[in-house]
């Protein structure tokens, strides 16, 4: 029996979000229309057009102004009541309206996952009573979803932050949405969340902030230009969009510019709106709104019989809590740092998806997989660290790479196992080393030694080196490769960042040296191989260039090493082609009077296609360096 996906749905008053576990991580389900500027996925709008068409989500929002009688929003506020929406002669209950939104989410989730979705976890406010909860479940049923569980929104948010994995604490969840504020105080212990108190304000949220910014922009424009933009529909729309964008931008920058060219016109010509807005200004504008959050917050504490010192964890939910000023307000007020790392707009849906995965058995029987905290590698020619397993690789894992010798007639290699993020071996932590001995004497680059790093699920690293020629093998086991204090890991990663430039330069220097060194080797070999085919002049040139590189290698000037290497490379190329020209000439002479077509085969082999073969071989020599 296949494992069914259970999606998590945050069915909100003005916006809804959905998420599902993909590859072990909660992932937001995109709506078919795509997200809006502020990242909203499914506006909680349902509409019926005069000609009987049903619209859900973004399209329903788009026509709301022109079809107020046929459009329903915020049906969540009516859940569990006897309220009936009368639309064009038909009657709908709030759960029916909500079911249209759930159906749309189901459809888009199926498109996203490429499989049918039958089950869902839906979140509800902690203060929802039995009626409201039953209504929400019914909405799911109508939409064709088996609601496997209803989860409190603050509980889902806490789960997204991983607060359900043990420990005991009191949690404050501050959920400021588009139009409502919910403050919940919960207690976690023994694997369950208990709601201690809830409070809130149903008419307070991000929309109020957008309006405050809009009013300010329009007011400033009137002051400087004497034109009231609030009477011009198009201008109003542009200013409102600009206000929301400015609000979002000011969460990351200290000042933003609002530019609306040709926002209006007078007899004197076009008028442009151009003003700067600082974060300080924004904070001043929304201060009155933030102040209104204090009362519900104090009320919740009072109802829970707690003081703010009793709170151990603070969780923020909702788009407006992305604003630094809101975060600072809460942190200052509670005297605790908030939990970070998850988008406050997505955390409820994500928590619901996690709950869904737990209920679906997707999480419980999954072995918790660990990762390697730092890169594992070994030391290669010139003291360079060559990485085999990158940091953050999920274990168990196994990686192999083939290495060779650096010198002629080398009969042993040292495998020096390193851990760390720096490109030079000496800057990393040495985990141990061993030798593979008894290699048959051979020119450098010829022996093939397979090195394998194998980390098992418990983090034990097995390193083995095997000479493919003789089958000789040597192994070592390292037990401490993943057990590092967090602080150590952090330091090593930050060191790597700090010294990035320096390290890069050093590594390049070593690499230049390695290239030069191996080219000298190749040149000397070529000189010997082609001894009878090269004229003395060419041999002199080769010797000169080789001496040049060798001299450069004795110094420390990387640029000089590079330029000398290039010179040698060129001479080597010339020598190669000269040798083959000579060979071709000789062949042609030997072929002599024979007709082109008759001799074509043998002569052609040497001069034509044969020539190409040689170039190939030449590249091969380069390859080995």
């Amino acid at each position: 029996m296949g494992k069914e996906k259970i999606i998590g749905i945050d069915l909100g008053t003005s916006n809804s979000e959905a998420a599902v576990m993909v590859g072990g991580k909660p992932t937001i389900i995109p709506s078919a229309e795509g997200a809006t500027v502020a990242g909203k996925m499914f506006p909680s709008y349902v509409a019926f057009t005069a000609d009987g068409q049903l619209l859900v989500g973004e399209p329903a929002r788009r026509q709301a102004i022109t079809n107020p009688d046929g459009t329903v929003t915020a049906a969540k506020r009516k859940m569990g009541t006897d309220h009936v929406y009368k639309i064009y002669g038909k009657e709908y209950t709030p759960q029916q309206i909500s079911s249209f939104i759930l159906q749309k989410i189901k459809r888009d989730a199926e498109a996203f996952l490429g499989e049918t979705v039958k089950k869902a976890v839906i979140t509800v406010p902690a203060y929802f009573n039995d009626n409201q909860r039953t209504a929400t479940k019914d909405a799911g049923k109508i939409a064709g979803l088996d609601v496997v569980r209803l989860v409190n929104e603050p509980t889902a948010a806490s789960m997204a932050y991983g607060l359900d994995r043990g420990g005991e604490y009191k949690i404050l969840v501050f959920d400021l949405g588009g139009g409502t504020l919910d403050v919940t105080i919960m207690e976690f212990g023994g694997g369950t969340f208990t709601v201690l108190a809830t409070s809130g304000d149903t008419q307070l949220g991000g929309t109020d902030m957008d309006n405050a910014i809009y009013e300010w922009i329009a007011g400033e424009f009137r002051k400087t230009e004497g034109i009231d933009l609030r009477t011009d529909k198009m201008a109003v729309n542009r200013v409102k969009e600009a206000a929301e964008k400015a609000k979002i931008e000011l969460s990351t920058v200290m000042e933003t510019e609002i530019n609306l060219p040709y926002v209006s016109a007078t007899q004197a010509g076009p008028k442009h709106l151009s003003m700067k807005m600082s974060r300080a200004k924004l904070e001043q504008l929304i201060e009155p709104i933030i102040k209104r959050c204090i009362q519900p917050f104090e009320q919740a504490l009072k109802d829970a019989n707690l003081t703010k010192n009793d709170i151990q964890k603070v969780i923020l939910v909702g788009g407006p809590t992305r604003m630094p000023v809101v975060q600072k307000f809460i942190e200052d007020h509670v005297g605790k740092k908030m939990e970070r790392g998850i988008d406050p707009m997505e955390c409820v849906a994500m928590g619901a998806a996690i709950q869904g995965a737990i209920l679906g058995g997707e999480i419980t029987d999954m072995v918790l997989l660990d990762v390697t905290p730092l890169t594992l590698g070994l030391e290669t020619l010139g003291g360079v660290r060559t990485a085999l397993i990158d940091r953050n690789t999920t274990i168990p894992t196994k990686k192999s790479q083939t290495f060779s010798t650096a010198a002629d007639m080398q009969t042993s290699v040292t495998i020096h196992v390193l851990q760390g993020e720096r490109p030079m071996a000496a800057d990393n932590v040495s985990l141990g080393q061993f030798n593979l001995v008894g290699l048959p004497p051979a020119p450098r680059g010829v022996p093939q030694i397979d090195v394998t790093f194998d980390i098992d699920a418990s983090g034990i690293l097995n390193v083995s080196a095997k000479d493919l020629g003789t089958g000789k093998e040597q192994k070592m086991t390292i037990t401490a490769s993943t057990k590092l204090a967090d602080a150590d890991v952090k330091k090593m990663v930050s060191d790597a960042k700090q010294y990035e430039e320096q390290d890069k330069a050093r590594k390049e220097e070593v690499e230049a040296r390695n290239v030069a060194d191996s080219l000298v080797y190749t040149a000397e070999k070529t000189k010997a191989d082609l001894a009878d085919k090269l004229n003395p002049d060419m041999v002199d040139r080769l010797n000169g260039a080789i001496t040049g590189v060798k001299a450069a290698l004795e110094g420390k000037d990387t640029a000089k090493i590079r330029s000398e290497t290039e010179k040698l490379q060129k001479v080597l190329g010339d020598a190669g082609s000269a040798a083959y020209q000579q060979a071709a000439q000789r062949q042609a002479q030997q072929a002599g009077p024979q007709t082109a077509s008759a001799g074509g085969d043998s002569a052609g082999n040497a001069a034509g296609p044969g020539g190409e073969n040689v170039v190939d071989a030449d590249f091969k020599v380069h390859d080995e360096k």
Binding site: Q63, I65, T66, M366
Partner: protein, 162 residues
């Protein structure tokens, strides 16, 4: 006897465990395979989405041109600017950008966003005015047209108030 019984039981438990683990492994493998396919699909989406976001952000410049051009007084200056605008349109239309037609058409919330309505003699739901141009990128609506739509008024006006 007891010993054999005990070992038998133990064997049974272990066998079951082994089977369970093997089953788990198969699921995990299948999961991984599916995840890989899903990632490939996701990569395609991200690539197209990245373009979409860039083009959507650039639409503001289109708007600015549309507003700026009529405001330029000298025909000569206008011609030059018009060419610049045309070049911009050309480049983005090669990427699949096309404007959404609206004026005179019937309002469609999949393509248009209504900002207001006006009572008039035209048929209800017809688009009277384009307040902001909408665009499609390769058939996907990346920005709906912002429009004013008509509300037909007869002698006998309904209770509909907007």
């Amino acid at each position: 006897m007891d010993e054999i019984e005990k070992l038998k039981n133990e064997l049974e438990v272990k066998t079951r465990q082994a089977e369970e683990r093997l089953n788990q492994l198969k699921y995990l493998q299948a999961d991984f395979d599916n995840f890989r396919k899903w990632c490939a699909k996701e990569k395609d989406t991200i690539t197209s989405l990245a373009n979409e976001r860039l083009v959507t952000d650039l639409l503001v410049i289109f708007d600015d041109f549309e507003r700026a051009l009529p405001a330029i007084e000298h025909e000569r200056d206008q011609a030059g600017m018009r060419m610049v605008y045309k070049n911009l349109i050309k480049i983005l239309s090669d990427y699949g950008l096309e404007p959404i037609e609206c004026v005179g058409k019937k309002f469609d919330p999949n393509l248009h966003e209504a900002l207001c309505k006006e009572q008039c003699s035209v048929e209800t739901g017809s688009i009277l005015e384009e307040l902001g141009k909408g665009y499609r990128l390769n058939t996907k609506v990346i920005r709906p047209s912002k429009v004013k739509i008509a509300e037909h008024v007869m002698e006998d006006t309904g209770e509909n108030n907007g």
